[in-house]
Amino acid sequence: MVPTKDKEKILTAIFWLLALIIVGILFSLIAYIAVRGLPGLSMDFILQAPSRAGKEGGISTTILGTLYLTAVALFLAVPLGVAAAIYLEEYARPDSKFAWLVNLTAETLAGIPSIIFGLFGFVFFVIFLGLGWSIISGALTLAFMVLPTITRTAQEAILSVPREYRENSLALGAGKWQTVCRVVIPPALPGIITGIILSIGRAVGETAAIILTAGSSLNMPLSLSDSTRTMSVHLYLLAMEGVSMERAFSTAFLIIILIIIINYLANLSLKRLAVNN
């Protein structure tokens, strides 16, 4: 029989190994895509418009499309989501049925897969409201998708602000809203920003919902009613339709770089929150 001590050593080794495998998966994925994507990545690739369905040229219009969609979606979702978080944490009574329902629906919304958002966006924005396959349809759909992230991170950030700040402010004769604006939101801001950054990540990577609502036009997006294609949608079509594997790799690599930067910024911002409170 193996002595307990040795058994535990073997178990420990297995746990380390499993953790290493996960790290290995992550790094091999990034490294592989980097190695294959780097050669095709150039200034021209970023700045030139695609031609022949992406077989030639760069991916500039898809970068712009991604930016455009993300910006509009955040413009819509951030005020709503942050306001909802402020309401839930600062105003709602703990026994409020309404707040309970909001929290429940927010959780549910967070769990809904993007394809469902895509279907909804398609039938509601594209067809019912007649907005067509367009940036505005895509952005509205995306806004719904990132709302739970924004609200939940903002809720956590607000919750992390010491209770004493509020008491002190109120004791000085500040009103509720003054207190929220002046001593609750400022220290919570890095956390709120983390939520926004994470939402940008979600927007950059989103594919299924975007195909169904914003279409996949490769033209330069000019107005909100233009159809557009994001980098992720572009990657999907390049790979699935076998247009150009080389360009698919470079696009994938660019997306990964973006996601790494976004993750880094989100962490940075979270550390700020910890310092603040």
Partner: protein
């Protein structure tokens, strides 16, 4: 911090005192009071967006999908294996099977792996390594599904084709890619649950002479059970709903998968593959597929939110 109920029994007040109040209250006090109330109302309306969103999503998807389900018949729609929408056959049986096969196979390896990793992060790893793992898992979670799908298409499929046979486009490929994608969900939630187990439990167990691993198995994991179940269910929800990665690696044939090497089509793939050109009943059938998916997901989420998380402080309040 919230405004709370209170009951104030006001003492008897004479005219002089009432007069005194007036000098004490701000001139614009009613104005100030109203502003706070107004702000509260506006914020509350904002918060209602979540209720509206869920209501609108349910409504529009059901309206588009349900009629077809009833037309075809619920059992026929769910269990018929024939999907030939242009010829009027709307059975999603093969896709239900496909979703089930891919999801379960993914859970089969991702749950133990994720659980082990979260135990590793909380209980075994030096704190610095644990934190580092945490950031790497975040990164894993941040990588878009289409990138995973692409990686699967380029690396995993040729691998399966060369070493295991078949075309490579298969349940297995889907399960591998999906498993990686749901690892962060499983790891994060079960890690939080394990970390939340009071230190006393562990100390108590160790004091009784149990080894570290015995404490983990007999004390910590049971105490973290509901969190771990939450992790598995939410991971499952994520797997069922995942689209882009799966569509890229499973081959998408509408057949019942007979082995993990056979190709398959999931419900999500079905929608994204055909939505581009579908119309009429065909389109309605895709929405109907969405209805089934939606109901699955909502049930999973409600189970988590109403039973497992109930009484716990996830999120707000």
């Amino acid at each position: 911090m919230n405004n709370r109920t209170q009951e104030i029994t006001v003492g008897t007040m004479d005219a002089a005192k009432l007069l005194a109040i007036r000098s004490f209250t701000r001139k614009n006090s009613t104005l100030g009071f109203n502003r706070d109330k107004l702000v509260e109302t506006i914020l509350m309306l904002n918060a209602a967006i979540f209720i509206l969103a869920i209501a609108a999503i349910s409504l529009f998807i059901l309206i588009r999908g349900l009629p077809l389900i009833f037309k075809v018949g619920i059992t026929d729609f769910l269990l018929q294996l024939e999907w030939n929408p242009t010829a009027g056959s709307f059975g999603i049986g093969t896709m239900l099977a496909g979703t089930l096969a891919v999801t379960l196979t993914a859970l089969l390896w991702a749950v133990p792996m994720g659980l082990a990793t979260s135990i590793f992060m909380v209980e075994l790893a030096p704190p610095r390594i644990g934190t580092l793992m945490g950031s790497l898992v975040e990164l894993l979670a941040g990588i878009p599904s289409v990138v995973y799908g692409f990686f699967g298409l380029i690396v995993i499929i040729p691998f399966i084709r060369n070493y295991l046979g078949g075309s490579g486009l298969s349940v297995l490929a889907g399960a591998i890619v999906l498993g990686v994608m749901i690892l962060p969900t499983i790891i994060n939630i079960s890690r939080d649950a394990i970390a939340a187990v009071p230190l006393d439990y562990k100390v108590g167990s160790l004091a009784l002479g149990a080894s570290h691993y015995q404490s983990i198995r007999r004390v910590i994991l049971p105490a973290a059970r509901s969190g771990i179940i939450t992790a598995i269910i939410l991971g499952m929800g994520r797997a069922i709903g995942e689209t882009m990665a799966v569509v890229m690696v499973t081959g998408n044939s509408t057949i019942i998968p007979h082995s993990i090497l056979s190709p398959t089509r999931t419900m999500t793939s079905n929608i994204v593959l055909e939505m581009g050109y579908a119309s009429g009943d065909h389109q309605a059938a895709l929405f109907a597929t969405g209805v089934v998916l939606f109901i699955f997901i909502v049930i999973l989420n409600l189970v988590v939110n109403l039973t497992l998380k109930a009484g716990k402080n996830y999120g707000a309040n």
